[in-house]
Symmetry: D2
């Protein structure tokens, strides 16, 4: 940790800063510059982080040197992690291909979609039973009935299933049916929920919040990991932007950034990122190119009848083409699509 | 609702669009332009909103005409609402002055701060017992013990109390001690929590999410209102920005925008918005000037010992000066600070 | 300047860093932490800034300690500057009230508007003769003819005039007619233009770029100041945002930030910031409240006939009410509107 | 164009709107909805765009139906354009590989770098002679001397050269030496400069502004095209973001968006976008994957001695690996690197 002192700091204030550091059991190195004085502080940065150093009189700026996440960092685990969801591996060269409708609508439709995405080459089935909707008047999902429908469709077509959980009180219920729990973008800093999905031990798909930095995102992963659950897969799904030509702004460089900071697998969701089916194939392709460990795409057999987010879904045959292109790219990069 | 059709839309697709609208019991007006064809759709816009119109072949863009919130809108309630918290009124010319430490730390400290902010002119006491912290390793609050300490300090100094709730399972507990429940920025779209605080019937302080539009924010208020709880006070606390000279970007024009869309009171929080004590007084003053119904400021008697967010707190005597300036401005604007 | 070294930095790399600093005639202090090694570098920070320190092997992060602007900083000039435009003073308690149409349209209209804003209490007249338009097919301004019209209207009503210059080749021409040169938001980092307006010696109104940090903005002011022209007035006019409820996002806290970094006057432009006449009065009021040295508002006597940006203009009688409110606020704050 | 009227619009105002449209020679279709009245306006949208429709009393919102650019649109030119720079083709399956140092520093260094990037597989040489620097105290480039050095190095190694022009007065001079003129991000809306490079007829590399929407960017291309110069290549180089893990935010989906709106070639610049050499290779690879027509990378043989932006440059041997990977990806996608 480095403390940059104010230009008009007094000698008394400097002494107070140094004493304070000593009281905390830390070593402080004072450097007096031409225009500014700085204090390099050596010791446990976590302890320091919990101290309001900026509130000490005379301190102008605090520069942390270490990231605040530990378990999520490459320091803690220098090799790429592989997360296993059912029999599907994600990470370290194995691609997870998650597909399915935004919401579970009926058993018949779910079965039909599952069959088609399986044929297309997907290895994980998604579908929402509890939908976080911006409006209280929109369709909120089928609840536990939807979970059963999803699980049955997954079992019928040998696809482990992923579904979102939004309520800490329902983590146990959702975990009974699902192979992987999704934490949505709006809940990325719902620390109560993160703690519960951490406790469940189930694989977690952690979507990036709409205005989360990469560090915020890894801190949220840390919440899950710190509960003893190492099965976290990150998912980039676009952040807020001033440009409305896509629904959100897909931040593919963030995938490359995460790979240099963390061992956790990262997948890319071009459906939510763009909100435009015409852009999904190219963005999915670029996602794998930049180093992602998988792709999450919404697929629906009749988007104009979808109860939620129909406009951002691909048709099954369009999805099949995407997987086809993905296979050739994966091969070029020395990767494989798990279990397909 | 207006549908703008694609330049290459076929006659068949146009017919399909018109049939679809008819099936939904809506009236459609077709206008063929030189370059584009548009369809004006008349009927219940809520029903329309739940339909994936953009997924209908040939539709390029959907332009909603009405906002999706109802109860929060001026149409529903053309007069400014007044929300009563204990004996303090907020809204329609009455200013709520919320002050107190970020976190409840001890009974002694809480009492001391409460006493001083009361003297300074605050009318509501804040303090966190459950802290949503970015890091799982940071101080997480004193829990129910903290709630008691807060309530006692409030009662001793005749200040109704406000505190954050982060877990839907704890809404009932928090509501036992608090006069007003705060929903934090990170939980603005935690719809499960919004529904629970709505059901509690307690006054709610709803902070704006870090990347929420004004419409998103009002939709979240709608979640609470739609549970039959009309006691919502909005709080602007800064949004994400590329500029790091302040912690967040205080969006004061949003206060003026809300006033033209909704009857709900809005207060401004310059502590979280700026993260800089030196800027808090001027930003608080500007907040009232732009039309806010109150100000939320963190106050601590020894910021360098605060367990959370010390650097953004004012000292009690600095806070007293802020209230002093506020009084003269309020007078100029024909407003008053409730109960002070 | 502080250099944070990489976790896996070698002893050889550390020696190379230290040698490099010595070669540059700088003093380096090495601090070895538990997890990281840092180097505090003392000497001329400007010289350092021009060195690609981050490219030295083993260096992970470079933390500058001093701002890169000098002449614009409070260190260089601790007292608030006053910029004189004709007989009007801006800064240090004197408010500049700039008003007028977006574009100069005709002598008759200009005269009529000038007369009315003078009566309303404005002290500076604005109007564009060279318009930077997003589309090459939009009205581009009347050119030199427009400058004459503007100057004549200003002289007839005792109002110094402000107008935008967009071309370095026209600075001399514009300076012949105008009392103050405006550099628009899109040209804030047009360094060639900044240098020319700096050389002209004329007062300059420097608008903030749409994605400029406060530091970027002050660096652009530095370009002008470094040409020996001390007459710079900054103008906050909103930055880009994801929320479309206003055209841009008015960053009033930035005014307070600038006041703590620089001696230069800052004015606020709620017309361009909001693009909404209904919000202009409240935002202007808040601008003065937060500490601005003046307000820039577009005024037009018939917005629906304006050749540019009509929808964001106030009518003259609406503007008169704004000035009226401003006067009472200025009085409360111990300020005055110059020359009105 | 669609006009959405205010909820409280009067019959008189509606009549005024309709008359106004008639006066302008346009057809208006009125649709009265349950809650809102809308007017569909048919006719020349360009003419409409120049009218301040939003300023007409009773009008709440104006929804344009057509984009404001014409020559840049796919409507005007449905086939992908190919821009020829010297003997190198960019667009429609031919990739431009632009490489070289940020600034021209000396003839010897330039020659050395040119030789190495040529061997690595680059087909265009870049180097700045006029540098737009944030600080007036930074190295501003060698000027015309630098242009000569650049041209000579290009000729010696059979590489057409690209260099930035920042001053409209220097377009002619720069055009004498360069094969392609670059307009930098900070000048993307310097309409005076755009007009001059348009007049020059030379190929132009138009970088996206840091807060430009895709539409803004295409409008700036339109300025150049409307001068009769069809040789425009767009360059995505990252936009502003709240996350500082990369210098800017690389918007790869924007490349896919442009491809659906315009016939112009687009290349990607991961050097300026990320500011981090470790991320450049993966981001370049993803750029081609998403559909870009080329890649712009800064290459320097000794980054720690670079006079400008050294830290974001690759070493020549690192660049060679990037081109190698690019070749295999291009082949997979049925594309080729021009002239290499």
């Amino acid at each position: 940790m480095i403390l940059i002192l104010k230009p008009d700091v007094t000698e008394e204030q400097i002494s107070h800063v140094l004493e304070k550091m000593e009281q905390l059991g830390l070593q402080a190195h004072l450097s007096r510059g031409t225009h500014r004085t700085i204090v390099g502080v050596i010791g446990d940065e976590d302890q320091l982080r919990s101290e309001p150093l900026l509130a000490i009189p005379g301190v102008k700026q605090v520069v942390p040197v270490m990231p605040a996440y530990k378990l999520a960092s490459l320091d803690a685990h220098p090799k790429s992690s592989v997360v296993k969801v059912g029999n599907v591996e994600i990470g370290d060269g194995k691609l997870g291909m998650i597909a399915g409708p935004c919401a579970v609508e009926s058993a018949e439709r779910m079965n039909h979609i599952a069959e088609q995405i399986r044929q297309a080459g997907a290895n994980l089935l998604r579908g929402g039973a509890y939908k976080p909707r911006t409006s209280p008047y929109s369709f909120q999902g089928l609840g536990e009935e939807g979970l059963k429908v999803l699980r049955d469709a997954g079992q019928a077509h040998d696809l482990p299933v992923v579904t979102e959980v939004t309520d800490p009180r329902l983590v146990e219920t959702v975990a009974k049916y699902a192979d992987m729990l999704q934490v949505g973008a709006r809940n990325m800093q719902n620390f109560v929920l993160l703690t519960e999905v951490g406790r469940s031990g189930k694989p977690v798909l952690l979507k990036r919040g709409m205005s989360a930095t990469v560090e915020d995102w890894l801190m949220s992963a840390e919440y899950i990991l710190s509960q003893g659950n190492p099965n976290v897969v990150l998912c980039e799904r676009g952040i807020k932007s001033y440009d409305r030509s896509t629904r959100n702004l897909l931040d593919l460089a963030a995938v490359a950034v995460v790979k240099r900071l963390s061992h956790l697998p990262v997948i890319v969701d071009p459906s939510h990122a763009t909100g435009r089916p015409d852009l999904i194939p190219d963005c999915a392709f670029a996602g794998v190119a930049v180093g992602a460990d998988g792709i999450h795409i919404e697929v629906h057999d009749c988007p104009e009848e979808a109860k939620s987010d129909g406009p951002q879904a691909l048709l099954p045959h369009e999805y099949a083409e995407v997987v086809q292109r993905m296979r050739s790219l994966a091969e070029l990069m020395g990767k494989t699509i798990s279990n397909s």
